[in-house]
């Protein structure tokens, strides 16, 4: 049961990354691509927390902390560039 639920998490979150990636490849405008980047960081943060749970090491949560607080800077920078505000 526990194994099945872990597979469930991995499959669904991993599929989320793949879908965002396809949007990044397809995306007509740069805004679409940035959108995909922003979403994929959120999804990856969740994936890292789940992986830390599966690997049973609390210290891995620090990586998720950095992801959660830092990753949005990249997309904000690109957004500011797109609205000519840099």
């Amino acid at each position: 049961m526990a194994g099945m639920s872990k597979i469930f998490y991995l499959v669904f979150i991993g599929a989320g990354i793949v879908l965002c990636f396809i949007r990044m490849i397809k995306g007509q405008t740069a805004a679409d691509r940035t959108m995909a980047l922003d979403t994929v960081t959120t999804v990856t943060t969740a994936l890292i927390v789940v992986l830390a749970f599966m690997l049973k090491r609390a210290i891995y949560l620090d990586v998720a902390l950095v992801y959660a607080l830092l990753m949005f800077i990249g997309s904000v920078v690109i957004a500011r560039f797109l609205e000519r505000g840099l």
């Binding site: 891995y60 950095v66 607080l69 830092l70 800077i73 904000v76 505000g85 840099l86």
Partner: protein
């Protein structure tokens, strides 16, 4: 023609790499015997350095000289960038669009949080993943966010230069102190403390604080120079 040559060269390099990698299978225990450096670090680092994070122990004590070099490389990059972009003509153009209210407020709110996270990361470098370098980058990212959020924000470049200069000197002086204490350069001459607590591991936290401040100041100065927001 040019890309054909490139492809041929790449094929040669790829083949060479593949041949090499077949000689070191993925996941094999290549540090099985005790005289290998990696095995030695894993087994001896907690006693010899007092640091729970072995990577930190390797970075700061066993291979501390590398770290001094790495900090120097970043210093060179910051100074070289300032030199290359020195006193060029200002770009004319429309003034940039100010950030929206939400973004400004969010940046002001998140800026101290990011700084705290950075300081946390480099203070706990010997206990949890992370260390001086990562913490410094996080601090610099905080300043980057502040630049993006507030269009008219400028930093006093001199303060940052003084910080990086002092922190770099502190690193070298810590090394020299090891030399003066009768050991060798960058020796861990301070008491090790209780394992797995904040105040442990001798000079590792001190050097990590120096590295964190230095890296943070350097990267911030680098971004400010690129954005023409210095001074």
């Amino acid at each position: 023609m040019r890309s054909l040559i490139a492809v041929i060269l790449l094929a040669v390099i790829g083949l060479g790499l593949a041949l090499c990698l077949s000689d070191m299978p993925f996941g094999a225990n290549h540090i099985a015997t005790a005289e290998k450096a990696g095995r030695h670090y894993l087994e001896k680092a907690p006693q010899e350095t007092g640091s729970a994070n072995v990577v930190t122990a390797v970075v700061v004590t066993y291979r501390g000289f590398d770290t001094l070099g790495e900090v120097t490389v970043l210093f060179i990059a910051a100074i070289g960038l300032g030199m290359v972009l020195y006193r060029r003509k200002k770009q004319e153009g429309k003034p940039p669009q100010p950030a929206s209210f939400v973004l400004q407020t969010g940046c002001c709110f998140l800026f101290p949080l990011i700084l705290i996270l950075g300081v946390y990361i480099f203070l706990h470098g010997h206990l949890t993943p992370g260390g001086g370098f990562q913490g410094g980058v996080i601090v610099a990212s905080g300043f980057l966010l502040a630049y993006i959020g507030c269009a008219d924000m400028k930093i006093r470049h001199r303060w940052f230069e003084a910080t990086e200069s002092l922190a770099g000197s502190a690193f070298v002086i810590a090394g020299m102190a090891g030399l003066a204490a009768g050991g060798s350069f960058l020796m861990n001459f301070m008491p090790k403390g209780n394992f797995n607590t904040l105040f442990s591991a001798g000079i590792i936290p001190i050097i990590y604080i120096a590295i964190g401040l230095k890296v943070g100041a350097e990267l911030t100065g680098l971004i400010a120079n690129l954005l023409e927001r210095a001074e």
